[in-house]
Symmetry: C2
Subunit: 453 residues, 2 copies
């Protein structure tokens, strides 16, 4: 378990911190906290229950406050912002990069936004407004307008002199962008090319124009896939006229990849990726009860199906005892198919062209598994209730439910996606409803026919 | 649905390709495939059913073969390697970077490994052997030994002249590493510092020694967390004597983050992250049947519990009809807690120091949810079966099961982690076993006491 290492390290820090907090010795806590990077402080704050969280937040170096706010989930961010007065907030966020500030802006009180805007120079204010004018979760929101551009009709030597005059480059600058007189994107020049070529080399010999720029409205998930498909460290962002607007860097893309993975893992349980480990009880209840209520409706649906067989159940109690097995195992088998499909959809590997091949493969797997486990379950049921007919009924019902689970496991996520619903969120509910209903109908229906027929 | 964009794009490519393959026109397929990056080709191959997969693999430019093999999951890689003869394989992999070659080596036939080793110069062979000497999933396996080093007692000008003589830098070089005479790691100099400082600047003024080097045995999950906590693009790797061994770059870290996320999503269904969408049926059966068999044992356990109440069920069939609701809703509520806990464990946010606070929060959430949904379910049951006592029984049973689900949801993943078991893999089975058993016992037990008492 490689994860255990980080777990152990952070757990040790947590324990130290917790002990120090309990004893009221805040000096060591402050020292410990301020050896951490903003992302690590964010992680730590997310792990603290209310009360302790506020104490530690108060000990963070005010210089790091803004970066820490950028690195925590929405819910936790809200709780931290609620603890700050407007002046502190203005001081915390006014020096952030434009892309980070844009990310925070909707969580800030209006008064703070106004102050921050006032404190910015006109250029930066216009840049922020431009970034905010693009849709959420688009390349425009991810980009930082702070880019270094050069012209093609110059030489390495001239560029180096320009850079020495300019001084420090924006974080994570691995390329300079070459633009036309009208600021259209023409290509990029790697810093590594600048330092490995003779001063007299013309820049237009070093231009790499293979990497197309990212249109500013591109969804962030597409941006993330492009970065990881092409091993980019940064990429230029352009408007519809190919005018260079900014630059996206891999560190922001890594955050998106993590968020998407968390989204997928948590939405299967009806939760959002910004859910706070210690969210206030009323909020947690409100969020969870909706998903539970949806599941409750489907549970009643399954019970109503069982209710149709009340007379059968009264006469053969063994059916009542065994029926959860058929429904549950169908759900388990379907969950395996569903998990593969959801990954395939996220990677763009599943579509109309391979649907038939997928169904055919899963039907064959389900048939063999159904045969194996149906025989086992049938045999055990026969031995348990001394009734071979009961064994036959449960064996056939299990096989049927495995086949149904394979079909629903493949087709439900694809159908949900076509309906613009999130398969990771809704797939499980649809699947278990189907395997419950089909499991109960096939088992109790066959039981009625064969045992009471 | 942002994912839908990629889905649509790849689905379109897939359909075009599929049509072209069906019609036997391989020219357009070859052209289409060879506009893609190796990672995209890998993604495409993973989405193709057997038959088509081999045809397309045969059309890939042999120059890309090695990189494509690096970018596919283990299962698919095995199927692709099986399609190549030894000479093709040697040609495909001999020009790979050392870290990529190390990643592939265990999947290659011995004969091919021998040929590749023979084709390498002594330096590279020693480097490969060194990389392979480190444990799997450690920093040593991720690093590339190809690094550019400089000495501290020199100037920008001298370094630039050295780099111009050296020529092209390794991919993703954003820093040069400063080493001592004995090759000990002293710090790093950013390319961006080289290009923004005057030629006469001494290198030791530009050294950033704040980023500690990564010990070579560090687990890759820790490496991934460090990269994302500190927004690194690359990091030096050292042995126990601080001798510089190589360099890890963010592109490999992104792959690890993706793999870990896939692992977490798929292991909840008892599958590995290398599972091929189109794995051969016998292999798929073998893998899945084990996890299903474990679930079957727990299902029989739950049925055995139900069996204890056979007499009660014979007399009150409504209990048989409603019992899946209590067990199922407990499982749903527990799944929400479990999902939060598994994320918390992966992020190192959950440990002994906040366990009590977590349990307390989840118990309160479960109490309120239990009260709300218990009342709803009780009311519906009362109305359905015209029996207020039955409503009372199911209401109390549901509340009890919600509380049990909260406790198991928090404690099971922590306990599994302590036992060095993967909570993402085993947590769901433990949870549903508990909520099934506790749900049935509380509902049928209370039913026996109150309805038949």
């Amino acid at each position: 378990m490689a994860d255990a290492i980080r777990h152990d390290k952070t757990a040790r820090q947590l324990r130290l911190l917790s002990d120090a907090l309990d004893s009221g010795r805040l000096g060591p806590v402050r020292r410990l906290v301020n050896t951490l990077s903003p992302a690590e402080i964010g992680n730590l704050l997310e792990s603290l229950p209310p009360g302790k969280r506020e104490v530690v937040w108060g000990l963070v170096d005010p210089e790091d406050d803004g970066e820490v706010l950028v690195h925590v989930g929405d819910d936790v961010r809200e709780s931290l912002i609620a603890d700050m007065d407007p002046d502190e907030l203005v001081a915390a966020v006014e020096d952030l990069d434009i892309d980070d500030l844009a990310d925070l802006v909707e969580d800030l009180p209006d008064q703070v936004i106004e102050e921050v805007l006032k404190s910015m120079d006109r250029d930066n204010r216009e840049r922020l407004e431009q970034v905010l004018s693009f849709p959420e979760e688009s390349a425009g929101r991810l980009m930082n307008p702070d880019v270094v551009t050069v012209r093609a009709d110059t030489t390495v030597d001239v560029v180096l002199r320009f850079l020495r005059l300019r001084g420090e480059l924006p974080d994570h600058t691995d390329h300079l962008y070459v633009v036309s007189r009208r600021h259209q994107y023409l290509g990029r020049v790697a810093l590594s090319a600048l330092v490995t070529h003779e001063p007299a080399t013309p820049i237009n010999e070093l231009i790499d124009d293979e990497q197309a720029a990212i249109p500013v409205t591109t969804p962030e998930s597409t941006v993330a896939n492009q970065f990881s498909d092409h091993d980019w460290l940064s990429a230029p962002v352009v408007d519809e006229n190919n005018i260079l607007l900014g630059r996206i860097t891999i560190d922001d893309v890594v955050d998106i990849i993590r968020e998407r993975a968390e989204h997928q893992a948590l939405s299967a349980a009806g939760l959002g990726e910004d859910e706070d480990l210690f969210s206030p009880v009323p909020r947690a209840v409100r969020r969870r009860v909706i998903w539970l209520a949806v599941n409750l409706v489907t549970a009643f649906l399954a019970s109503a199906v069982v209710g149709q067989f009340a007379q059968t159940l009264e006469r053969v109690v063994a059916l009542a005892i065994l029926m959860p097995i058929v429904a549950g195992m169908g759900g388990n088998a379907g969950t395996q198919v569903l998990a593969l499909m959801i990954r395939g959809l996220a990677l763009g590997q599943v579509g109309a062209s391979n649907l038939r091949a997928l169904v055919w493969k899963e039907v064959r797997v389900a048939s063999v598994n159904g045969l194996i486990l149906g025989s086992v379950v049938g045999g055990v049921a026969w031995a348990w209730f001394h009734d071979w007919k009961l064994g036959l009924v449960i064996g056939i019902a299990l096989m049927s439910n495995f086949l149904a689970a394979a079909l629903v496991g493949v087709l439900a996520p694809i159908t949900l996606r076509r309906l613009n619903l999130d398969p990771a969120l809704a797939g499980g509910v649809v699947l278990t409803t189907a395997t419950d209903v089909i499991g109960f109908v096939s088992f109790l229906g066959l039981g009625t026919l064969i045992l009471l027929g």
